[in-house]
Symmetry: none
Subunit: 382 residues, 2 copies
C-alpha cells in the first residue's frame, strides 16, 4: 500500500468519527488504516465501530480535504510520518489503555504551517488559562511566552482570548516557535477576533487540529482538544484560572498524562487566580514565577538560569561581632566599656573585635571611643 | 524559697546575659534560679557562664525593673508561673537540645497587658511579613488578622511597620486577641510610629519581650526575638516577604520548631512576594489564601493527637500522624523528605508532626533524620 493510500484512508477516518473514538482506533490498530477505512465505508464493521461511524460513513471527502488544507499551506500528519510526535502522543495511548478519559491518541492531525511537528514538540511547554484574564495574567502569559520562545521552547496553547492569545503573542514577539491547537478545522479562524493571530502563527510554528477542514468548534470539542494541548507540552503552566475555568480541565489531563503541572501564583484577592491557588494548595501543581523556574520544573537543564535570579548575601558580621557592631554609636564615639555592657560581650572580646570591625570598614576610631563607619551603616538592611 | 525570690532572681538573670545564653540556661536548670543568680552575681560560675555574664553581672536592677514594668501594667512571667506557655516554649527547648540555632526557651518574659499568656497562646497563629509591604500585603494581613481574631485565634506578630502592624490592627478591629513580641523592653515604643498601636494592644492581649525594661532594640535582637514569634504560634503565615526579608528568618525558625509554615501567594511581578513564592516552591510552606485555609492548615490534629495518645493505653497516632509514624525507620534515621514521600503526607505537615510524635515518645531525632523511638515501637503496633 502506498503512503498516499494511508493518508487518504486516515483523512477519511478523521472525518467519519467524532473523536475520541476508542472502538474505531482499536479497529484501525487491528486491520490497518487502509483496510479499516474500506470496511468502515462499506459498513462491514463490528457493532461498537458502527456506533461511532455509521452516522458519517457516507462522508467521503478525503481528496477534497487534503486539497483544501494544502491550499492554505497545510497537510495531514499521520502516524506513518516521520514528523508524527511519537512520544507526546504515546502518553495518550498509555492513558487510554488505563481507561483514563483524557486518553486516546488522534488517528491523524491536520496541521498548518511550515514547522516540523515532531521537532517543535521536542522542547515544548503548554501555557493556558482563563479567557477572562486580568491585565496581570495577560502580562505574565506574554512574558512567559516570550521567554520560553527565546529559550527555544515551543509555546503550546489554544489560541483563545485572554491567556492563550497573550502566550502566543509573547512567543511570536520572540520570533516563535509556538503551536496553536484548535477545536475546529485549521482553515477556520476561531475566535474570529484572533484571525490575524492565527495567520501569523503558521509562519513561526504550527496551527494543529484533529478535526478536518471546515469542522466547526463545539463545546465538547474544546474538552477533547485540551488533551492534545496537555500531551504536546512537556508540562503545562496555568497562568490564571477561575475555579471552573476550562484550564482546570487541561490541568487535570496534564496530571493524568504524567506531565508536569505548574501554576502561577496571583493575588489571593483575585478570583481569576483562585483556580491556580487550588491547584497549588492541593499539591497537584507546583508554583512557577519565572521562565527559569518553568524550564527547571519541566526538567530540562536551566538550573543555571534559576541560580542567576538568586540573590547573594551581604557580608555582615555574625554573633558577638554583630552585637558589638550594633552597640556602636552612629555619630558619636562609644567607649569599649559601654559597648561591652550594651552588647553583653566580655570587655576583652570587645577590645579584640573592634579592630577587626575596623579592618572591614564597619567601625572607626574617634576621640570618644568607637563609632560605625559610613560604609558599615549603609550595609544590608534586615 | 518564696516566689518573690525566684522572680527577683530571674529578673536579674534576664538582664545579666544577652539571650540566647545556653550556658546560663543550663546553669539555671542545674542549680535553680535563686542559687544561679547569687553565684552569677558573685562571679562564682564556670567559664562558659562567665563568658555570658561577666560583662553585666554588676547590673543588679531586679527590684527597679519589676517596679518599672508594674507601673505600666506589666509583670514578669517565669517558668514557675501557671501562665508560663509550657507547650509553645517546649518546642524551643527541644530545638535547643538538638543544637538548632533557633532554639532555647527564654529564662523569663516581661509582659504588658491583662491577658493570660498561656491561655492566649492555646490557639494562636503568627502573621508576619515585610516592613516595606505593599497595599495588597497590608490589606491581606489586616483581613487575616481580623478573621483569625474573630475566630478566637490569637494573632502573634512583631509590631513592626507593614505586615506586622496591619495584622495587629486587623485583630484589634475584631476586638483582639493579639500578642506583640518586641525586640526591646515592653516599656519602649518601637517603632516610634507604632506608639499608639503598642498602647492599644495590652488592652486586647499582650506585649511580650524577653528583654528587661529600658533595653533598646538592636538588629541581632530582632533575629533572637523572631524565634519567640515562631514558638508562640501554632503556625506562621508569611504574608509578604522579599528574598532577604527578616520574615524569612521567622519562617526558618517556624520549620525548625516543627510548626506549620504558610505563605500567601501574590503577584509574581511583585518582589515583596518573591520570598513567599520561594517558600512555596521549595515546599517549605503551604499556600494559604483565606482564614479558613489557615485554620485548616494549622489544624488541631497535632494537639488532639497528643491528648488522644495521652488518654489511651495503646497510644498510637491517627490519620496523617499515623502515616508519618508508619514511615519511620525502626533502626536507622529517615529524612523528613523521605518520610513525606513514603507517607504521602505533605512535607510541611511531616515537619510539624515529627516533633509532636517525639514529645509522646513515638519518634526520636537521630543524625540521619528521624526513627521510631524504642518506647514507640514497643507499643501495641497493630
Amino acid at each position: 500500500m502506498s503512503g498516499g493510500d494511508v493518508r487518504l484512508a486516515r483523512a477519511y477516518l478523521s472525518r467519519v468519527a467524532e473523536p475520541p473514538a476508542p472502538a474505531l482506533s482499536e479497529f484501525v490498530a487491528e486491520c490497518g488504516p487502509v483496510e479499516a477505512a474500506r470496511r468502515v465505508r462499506s459498513g462491514d464493521v463490528p457493532g461498537s465501530v458502527a456506533n461511532q461511524t455509521s452516522a458519517r460513513r457516507g462522508e467521503y471527502r478525503a481528496e477534497e480535504d487534503l486539497a483544501a488544507v494544502e491550499e492554505i499551506g497545510g497537510r495531514l500528519v499521520v502516524p506513518e510520518d516521520d514528523e508524527w510526535p511519537e512520544w507526546p502522543f504515546n502518553a495518550l495511548t498509555i492513558a487510554a489503555a488505563h481507561g483514563l478519559r483524557c486518553g486516546l491518541a488522534p488517528l491523524a492531525v491536520w496541521v498548518r504551517g511550515s514547522g516540523d511537528l515532531a521537532a517543535l514538540t521536542e522542547r515544548s511547554v503548554a501555557v493556558v488559562g482563563s479567557r477572562s484574564a486580568t491585565g496581570y495574567g495577560q502580562h505574565v502569559a506574554a512574558e512567559f511566552g516570550f521567554g520560553l520562545a527565546e529559550a527555544g521552547v515551543t509555546v503550546v496553547s489554544g489560541a483563545a482570548y485572554g491567556i492563550d492569545g497573550a502566550a502566543h503573542r509573547g512567543a511570536l514577539a520572540a520570533g516563535g516557535p509556538t503551536i496553536a491547537v484548535l477545536a475546529c478545522g485549521v482553515d477556520i479562524a476561531y475566535p474570529a477576533g484572533h484571525q490575524g493571530l492565527l495567520e501569523r502563527i503558521p509562519r513561526h510554528g504550527l496551527v494543529v487540529s484533529e478535526y478536518p477542514p471546515g469542522c466547526r468548534p463545539a463545546r465538547y470539542r474544546f474538552i477533547t482538544r485540551n488533551r492534545l494541548i496537555a500531551a504536546l507540552g512537556e508540562g503545562t503552566v496555568v497562568v490564571e484560572a477561575g475555579r471552573r475555568s476550562g484550564a482546570k480541565n487541561t490541568a487535570a489531563s496534564t496530571s493524568a498524562l504524567g506531565r508536569v503541572l505548574m501554576a502561577v501564583p496571583g493575588p489571593v484577592t483575585s478570583s481569576t487566580s483562585s483556580g491556580c491557588h487550588e491547584l497549588l494548595r492541593s499539591g497537584e501543581a507546583q508554583p512557577v514565577t519565572s521562565v527559569a523556574e518553568i524550564i527547571e520544573s519541566t526538567g530540562r537543564l536551566g538550573v543555571d538560569l534559576v541560580e542567576a535570579t538568586r540573590n547573594t548575601e551581604v557580608g555582615l558580621p555574625q554573633g558577638e561581632a554583630l552585637r558589638v557592631y550594633e552597640a556602636l554609636g552612629l555619630r558619636s564615639g562609644t567607649s569599649a566599656e559601654a559597648i561591652s555592657i550594651e552588647s553583653g560581650v566580655e570587655l576583652s572580646r570587645v577590645r579584640a573585635l573592634l579592630p577587626e570591625l575596623e579592618l572591614i570598614d564597619l567601625a572607626e576610631r574617634v576621640d570618644a571611643g568607637w563609632k560605625r563607619s559610613h560604609e558599615g551603616s549603609s550595609r544590608g538592611d534586615t
